[in-house]
């Protein structure tokens, strides 16, 4: 019962804030909605026996990526909504409608097809368990990720520096 109530609260937060990210005009408010969304997601990850992923979610997304977003918004000083006026267009109501349709279709499909959760191992989602699988079965994707990050670092510096 307690789990269901908590899930309902977090789901409500996620629904409201993900609408907020899109619907709000001010980019800083958008970013704040997204931060709240990530917090609620981290709580849901705990429900799904993913403690490590939940902690990384807060550290990486809320602690680093969203701060970078805020930094860029403030650096370009796009705070005033008049900077980018969103004109009324036919594509907006159509897109909202299609998104709603997409959710309804997927939700119907999910309800028809899927069953219940399997029993989880005791230490599923702990750092030890994730680390074990990350460095045995998944070591090649992991190393590829490090190359990807290296490319991103080099690319970001090339992009942002005026003179190298």
């Amino acid at each position: 019962m307690f789990g269901q109530i908590l899930f309902a609260i977090m789901a409500l937060v996620i629904v409201v804030t993900s609408i907020g990210v899109v619907a709000v005009r001010n980019p800083v408010r958008s970013a704040l909605n997204l931060v709240a969304n990530f917090f609620a997601l981290a709580v849901l990850y705990l429900f799904l026996y993913a403690q490590f992923v939940a902690a990384v979610q807060i550290i990486v997304y809320a602690g680093a990526i969203m701060v970078l977003f805020l930094f860029t918004i403030m650096l370009l000083n796009l705070g005033s909504p008049s900077e980018l006026s969103e004109r009324g267009e036919i594509k907006r109501p159509v897109t909202w409608g299609l998104a709603l349709l997409f959710v309804i279709v997927l939700a119907g499909g999910v309800f028809v097809r899927l069953g219940k959760a399997q029993p989880a191992a005791d230490d599923l989602g702990t750092v030890q368990m994730v680390g074990k699988f990350l460095f045995t079965d998944w070591v090649y994707p992991f190393e590829l990720t490090s190359i990807l990050l290296l490319i991103a670092i080099v690319g970001a510096i090339v992009m942002a520096k005026r003179r190298l």
């Binding site: 550290i59 805020l70 650096l75």
Partner: protein, 341 residues
Amino acid sequence: MEELLSNAWIVIPLRIIIVVGFVLTAVPVLTWVERRVLALMQIRKGPNRVGPAGLLQPIADGIKLFFKEDVLPERVDRFIYFLAPAGFLIPVLCAPAVIPWGPDDRLTPIADVNIGILFLLAMTSLTVYGIVLAGWSSNNKYSLLGGLRASAQTISYELAMGLSIISVVLLTGSLSMRDMVLNQQGGLGLLNWHVFRFFPLGLIATSIFLVAMLAETNRAPFDLPEAETELIAGYHTEYSSMKFAMFFMGEYASMVTISAVMVTLFFGGWLSPLPFAPFTWIPGPLWFLIKLGVFIYFFIWVRATLPRLRYDMLMKLGWLRLLPAALVNLFLVAIILWWQK
């Protein structure tokens, strides 16, 4: 008593009261200590009129801040303007939840989670939101600059801090703060502490953490986000009354928290420096508080001694000195551990 302490509904609120209560009581005391110590170092008197040795000065300050007019500047983003001080204070007060204060695990930590140090890193990295949002919402160019500086500074120094913590994680083989303290126990006393482990590697990791912790708490010489002389107090220029007090409390509380992390990770937490008779008579929590006091004194000492860095020097120190040093240090620690196996 034993029954009461095994009841989760009693013991967890009790733990929260102990930890948060301690941190919040430490704040007014620290404001007095800081001014007295600074006065001592600069050969002047400091607060000495209100109460004996000025001890009642924090209460007078509190009353003043409480009854001060709350100025709301024009054209601020009101919701975010009110949210920002709370967004700064709440993570700071959440962070000490995983720090063990003594050998008795019934009273502290509030939650001995197996990802304790990750929780701490997450909470310390969230404090930057309060500063950034305060700077942005104040509709003041100095505040905006303060917010920008704070965000860049926090992201930069978090990396070096995280890498120096990872070397401790490698030594312990666990992310629980309790295990980290227990790993420093041993017959050699303070030579078992992580700071002296693999001399000088542990010392290097400690020094990197020390610099990073000054930068993370925005204290001098890294107080660029609120530099009075160039940014007229930066992100909290437009704040007054209790909202300013919340920023102030947050800064001192984060000083206490991060000093506690330092003590736990590198200086043996509640362990006594020498494992024989006269030292072991002093109970563990008291040792913890003594060490905590030393680091808080260190914060004030540094503030009185060092001039503020220029911003490009700050970035250079973080990215070009501390980060490579932390990486090499981590690499060497890993090699030695692998060698020992």
